[in-house]
């Protein structure tokens, strides 16, 4: 905003962060895996810069105000035995004018930055300039669709590093908000309305985020993982999503049993798995599930035991989850969980 050189930006950022740390007890671990002050993308970078520069402007103002206050409290105290009254000043037009106009000038500077960056961040990139991803919020999980590659997936957003990604946001039920602090601020997902936001990861990595608009019982557990990959690896992911390996060979007995149980237990009425004829559209698409790091909207790691626990009793894992507890016998649970682990 007001700070131009890159070096100074870095210094300012580190300064703000260390100041915040110094306020509390220093020396403790400072994890910034979901921090807006640890940007890993263009948008978050712009915002972190605005946060720190406005923070420092406010610090300067604070120093002025608090110095005046402290001086006033220390110097102008009642002293014992004081008989005379203090001067009964009722005001001073010149000085009052000064402290009306000075803040106005400071604010005007901040307004310029605000307007500028609003238009940078508010830009909507068409398909020719950015990868388009349709994001749909559900209680309490995320659906990601890539119209250009005809991919539908859930909860784990894959994006290529260094490329602009336009997220086209809507909701299937209540309001949600997409927030991955290291990549950018949030935008709401609203039923009956389409919103846009763009992000651009500047370095590969796994970025965490979560729903930021209260959406019900599972709100706290509606988390996001963004996997920003170098373009070559991203292309591999697209390849595996569009050519799924989904029907286990009959030789792997347990997985094949799980494949059969998935249909007979009724899972297919809600879930789609690419490469099979399971085409339910209520719950998350499970294609390529073995590649996902986490399950239950990024709540627990994607292990066999966790998948079993989830299928066995979803509400115990995630209060408010809308996936019904089908009360499946444990051998069916194990078979289905095993089968899901084979989805590539």
């Amino acid at each position: 905003m007001l700070v131009s050189s890159k070096r100074r930006r870095g210094l300012v950022k580190r300064g703000a962060l260390s100041l915040l740390i110094a306020v509390g007890l220093s020396g403790c671990g400072f994890d910034t895996t979901q921090s807006a002050l640890n940007p890993a993308g263009t948008v978050a970078q712009i915002q972190a810069r605005m946060i720190t520069s406005s923070f420092w402007i406010m610090m300067v103002v604070s120093v002025v105000v608090f110095s005046a206050l402290i001086v006033a409290i220390i110097r102008f105290r009642a002293k014992p035995g004081q008989k005379t009254l203090p001067p009964q000043t009722e005001g001073n037009n010149r000085i009052e004018f000064l402290w009306t106009v000075t803040p106005a000038i400071i604010l005007a500077l901040m307004m310029i930055g605000t307007i500028n960056q609003s238009f940078v961040l508010g830009k909507i990139y068409p398909a020719s300039q950015a990868l388009q991803v349709d994001v749909t919020g559900h209680q309490f999980w995320w659906q990601f669709q890539y119209p250009s590659a005809n991919i539908t997936t859930a909860n784990e957003l894959h994006i290529p590093v260094g490329e602009k990604v336009e997220l086209i946001l809507t909701s299937a039920d209540v309001m949600h908000s997409f927030w991955v602090p290291r990549l950018g601020g949030k935008t709401d997902l609203i039923p009956g309305r389409t919103n846009y936001m763009w992000i651009e990861a500047s370095q590969p990595g796994i970025y965490h985020g979560q729903c930021a608009e209260f959406c019900g019982t599972g709100h706290a557990d509606m988390r996001i993982t963004v996997d920003a990959e170098p373009p070559a690896r991203y292309a591999v992911w697209v390849q595996s999503m569009t050519h799924p390996v989904s029907v286990p060979p009959k030789s792997s007995t347990l997985a094949y049993q799980g494949y059969l149980d998935f249909a007979s237990a009724g899972c297919e009425s809600c879930h789609t798995i690419g490469g099979t004829n399971f085409a339910g559209a209520v719950g998350p698409n499970l294609t390529d599930l073995s590649d996902r790091l986490m399950i239950a909207a990024n709540l627990i790691p994607n292990t066999l035991a966790n998948r079993e626990a989830w299928i066995h009793d979803p509400q115990a894992v995630k209060p408010g989850a809308l996936m019904p507890n089908l009360h499946l016998p444990s051998n069916e649970v194990t078979a289905i969980a095993t089968y899901l682990g084979t989805l590539k």
Binding site: D31, L107, V174, D188, G320
Partner: protein, 632 residues
Amino acid sequence: MAEHSQPLVHRYEVPSISTQHGRLWSWLTSVDHKQLGRMYLVASFIFFLLGGVEAFLIRIQLAVPNNHFLSAQLYNQVFTMHGITMLFFAVMPLTSGFMNYMVPLMIGARDVAFPRLNALSFWLFLFGGIMLYSSWFLGGAPNAGWWNYVPISGLQFNPGHGIDFYDIGLQITGLGSIIGSINFLVTIINMRAPGMTMMRLPLFVWSTFVTSLLILFALPPLSVTMFLQTFDRLFGAQFFNVAAGGNPLLWTNLFWIFGHPEVYILILPVFGIVSEILPTFARKPIFGYTAMVMATFVIGFLAFTVWVHHMFSLGYGPVVNSIFGITSMLIAIPTGVKVFNWIATLWNGQLRLTTAVLWVLGFLVCFTIGGMSGVMLAVSPADLQYNNSYFVVAHFHYVLIGGSLFGLFAGLYYWFPKITGKMMNETLGKWNFWLMFIGFNVTFFPFHILGLLGMPRRIYTYAPGLGLTFWNQVSTFGVFILTAGLLVFIANLFLSLSKQGAMGVADPWDGRTLEWTIASPPPEYNYEHIPLVRSRDALWAEKMYGNGTMLNAEELDHHAPQGMIHMPARTMLPVLLAFGLFVAGYGFIFSIVWLDVVGLLITFASLLKSMFEVDRGSYIPVQTHPEVSIDG
């Protein structure tokens, strides 16, 4: 209008002579602004404690990651009720309590313009609060946050009755606030003592005036949107149902058109309190009185122009977000003027560091920090990171606790002697202040950091490994200090109240305004003789240039017998009217038609009775003078 201005016509309609009543009866039938003010203060303090218990539960739940002390379902009810309680049933009625008690005294009046409406406001507030709290025992409290956004609060996603309690309970309370605002506007315009021109009004009265304007224009949008939702939920209307062409953004906009002015409704009265206390204890007039009045009006006006800054992430685009970012920043200018004027009031003064002053200084520090984070929030592109995060939670707790509540504590320590006739203990008061000031900052400063670390608000738990655990623990630790401070306050309150006998001092602080010219506590009629106001800071001017007492402005009341003062009569009607709505409310919530009928019958019967009743008021004997000493 005030009944005491009516002439006496028939002999058999002469006003009754006021008699002593039992305590419960006197509460139920009182139309005395001071009695109602005390009732507001007591009731809202109880609600404040309930909201505090909810806050305590929230902090216990968030002390460690993946905690299951509260279930997600329960947590959502607890944080929703915490917000509703603190805003509508603690801070707002605490300010009403002071307005009720002080405004008529400060303008030299014997009561408000419409004493019965005043009682009605109180009972509507109280019944609305009781109704909301009864939801805990009747199927669960509201659970969609105090904004109660749709569709999450719609029938489809929230079939329980909690949301109906929100809509109807707040509707009843809100009605009371709207009625109260009209009452105060009329009182301030019409009931000023001779010589009390508008530009001589104490600043607390001015802030009451502007606050009442805000309530008058801001509460109706809330009422409307709650009616729309009530129609949706009870009668199958489709205002907010997306599938039927409804629009959830109708709620968000109407809500925040109310919601932002609401924030100023909570803080402006406190600005007034601060502007009374600082001149008194610095022994100087307020610096820049005219600028202070103007700033209050500008803040009040701008309050209606910034509501979208609560929803920058809603996707209205860069034009709208820029405009509302700019208007939001503009508020910093009049607010800054106030802060600078307060500091300038101290400048060259002779400040006495009483407990009331400590609270004001605590207010200045915390409110300024909250104002700074407020300007940061107005930077709309950056707000996309802050929005709905703990950074926002930090900001509004700084302005609502560090701002409003600290200012209210200041007001309590300042006016306690006037209201009760007893002094609060200053030593305990200082412990009270320092514990709460430190506890507050330890609790809420980490919220700024938590927000920047990526913690959204309204989550019942969080993951380990995000760096959130440590700061949450610091915050929970702070709550214990804060609670200790609050316990000291309660102890101080009861100790001071149990002191035997009134101190009998009208003016313990060397005050400047009219309320310090009469006995503590004041007699029911406030002023035996309506005072003549000759200057701003009326009492101070008499101390400086007169003989230290107010001149008498009142023409003789030809109708009043010797030694009697004509005052409005006690009545049961306001409480009955409010009670009828309370009963009907349950009828609507649970779709019980006969209960609706009974409740509405009670309400309309009381309404008709008040309309056609010939009320001649009552006579109150003038108290034998306690020796009123001005110097304390």
